[in-house]
């Protein structure tokens, strides 16, 4: 017969993984993709747009980076109904995480775009490209290589941060663990199990990051930095 703790872990593994599959994964993936898109737009505005626009996006980044994520989630889910905006838990969490990823990734994207040598813009222009073509074909692909390590960090943090959504009633994996604790009174075992699942997810993602870096490094990086 299996020891009690192992039996409990096995019994709860199904519900936990199900919650991870149905809530944690979609919340992470959706808010990362939307957040990156937002981050790219914000970065481009900060780098290239005129004053009022840069001021607006700087204000946004300042607010998001300067306040706790949990407080932001509470404001969106519990605070906004007071002004007539009522959101379901999942969309509220999605908006919160997207805004968060957008702010942090915009700083990363801004830095990596600026790190591409100016001569690459000139080379792109010299063969007749316009700004969007130079950006898309020449600058972003090179910036992307440099962005992989810091953006992977953002992504791995996000996987773990989605556990905060439990506090605004999203039934993701951590909340599933809490519910089982409520009936079994085994917090130590269940929370260790949840922690192990987060650890496994993060480890898988780190491995994928290494693969992606190797793939993007095949051409050897900026030429100028080498000479």
């Amino acid at each position: 017969m299996l020891p009690h703790w192992l039996q409990l872990m096995l019994d709860s593994l199904g519900p936990l993984l199900w919650a991870a599959l149905v809530f944690t994964a979609p919340l992470t993936l959706l808010s990362f993709v939307l957040g990156l898109t937002l981050g790219l737009v914000v970065a481009l505005i900060r780098l290239f747009a005129a004053w009022p626009f840069t001021a607006i996006v700087r204000f946004y980044v300042w607010i998001i980076r300067g306040t706790p994520l949990l407080v932001q989630l509470f404001l969106i889910f519990y605070g906004l109904p007071s002004v007539g905006i009522v959101l379901d838990a999942f969309p509220a969490a999605l908006i919160g995480f997207t805004l968060n990823v957008g702010a942090y990734s915009s700083e990363i994207i801004r830095a990596v775009i600026a790190s591409v040598p100016k001569g690459q813009w000139e080379a792109a222009y010299s063969i007749g490209m316009n700004w969007p073509q130079a950006m898309r074909r020449t600058i972003l692909p090179q910036a992307a290589r440099v962005a992989v390590p810091p953006l992977s960090n953002t992504f791995i943090s996000l996987v773990k941060d989605t556990s905060l959504a439990a506090a605004i009633t999203v039934p993701e994996m951590f909340q599933a663990a809490q519910r089982i604790v409520a009936t079994t009174y085994e917090p130590l075992i269940l929370y260790i199990e949840a922690a192990l699942i987060y650890l496994a997810l993060s480890s898988i993602l780190s491995t994928l990051q290494v693969r992606l870096e190797e793939r993007l490094n095949r051409y050897g990086g900026f030429l100028e930095a080498r000479s």
């Binding site: 001569g119 080379a123 010299s126 007749g128 490209m129 073509q133 051409y219 050897g220 990086g221």
Partner: protein
């Protein structure tokens, strides 16, 4: 005919070019020479508008643009003029994330919307011309400086520009590697490619230039056929400069 008329370029308070006028005949090689900071590179970059002149006029063939202080020119007209030119940079500036052949195809497929196959054929024939057909699929980082510059020349020639602009094409190379670049450029000169090059390299200039423009402190000091300017400079300043170059 390439015509620069009364070109003035300011960077803030710094007047880099003051009323430079040059006429460049097609089919020949014009070398822009002179001391560092004299405005050679800036003048060259004013031809393809990587630097926008503060005032003056740039004409390449039938395309012309006039500039006035504080007045912006539209992107479309800048590009129209720029597409008459190709440029070779001092530090090559190949796209590191594309192979040699992809570097050459890039302008053809992205800008001119050529089909892949046609662009590949054109790129391959240019690689053969610069003697690097065997390096078609190499990453730029694996090529020597001389090879990178030869790929860069092929990339600049791909859309058949009216004029090839070379900004110190051999300055980043040791004499041995610069030799292979000089060979490619002189072959192009023999074929009648119109070139304008800013250079310190007297070997390069005397070997392939037909005309010379000597610039100092943003003004044209002397201009004329290469043999005359190098062999029998009229101005004292030009004489001194050429003596220091040949002493090396």
């Amino acid at each position: 005919m390439i015509e620069l008329t009364d070109i003035e370029k300011r960077f803030g308070d710094n007047l880099v070019l003051q009323g430079v006028s040059v006429r460049i005949a097609e089919g020949g090689v014009t070398a822009l020479v002179g001391p560092s900071g004299g405005g050679k590179s800036t003048l060259l970059r004013c031809i393809n508008l990587l630097e926008i002149p503060t005032s003056g006029m740039v004409r390449i063939g039938d395309e012309a643009l006039t500039f006035h202080p504080g007045q912006k020119v539209g992107w479309a007209s800048v590009q129209k003029l720029r597409r008459q030119t190709g440029m070779v940079f001092q530090n090559f500036q190949l796209f590191p994330h594309r192979t040699a052949i992809e570097n050459i195809m890039e302008g053809l497929t992205t800008v001119l919307k050529w089909p892949q196959e046609r662009a590949r054929e054109r790129a391959l024939s240019l690689l053969e011309k610069v003697g690097l057909a065997h390096k078609a699929d190499a990453w730029p980082a694996t090529l020597s400086g001389g090879q990178q510059q030869r790929v860069a020349i092929a990339r600049a020639l791909a859309p058949s520009p009216r004029v090839l602009l070379c900004d110190e094409p051999t300055s980043a190379l040791d004499p041995e590697l610069s030799g292979e670049v000089v060979d490619v450029l002189s072959q192009l000169a023999r074929e009648g490619t119109t070139m304008v090059m800013a250079t310190h390299d007297l070997r390069l200039a005397s070997k392939i230039a037909s005309e010379v423009v000597f610039l100092e402190a943003g003004v044209v000091v002397e201009t004329g056929p290469a043999a005359e300017v190098f062999g029998n400079p009229q101005r004292e300043r030009t004489k001194r400069f050429i003596t220091t170059l040949t002493q090396k």
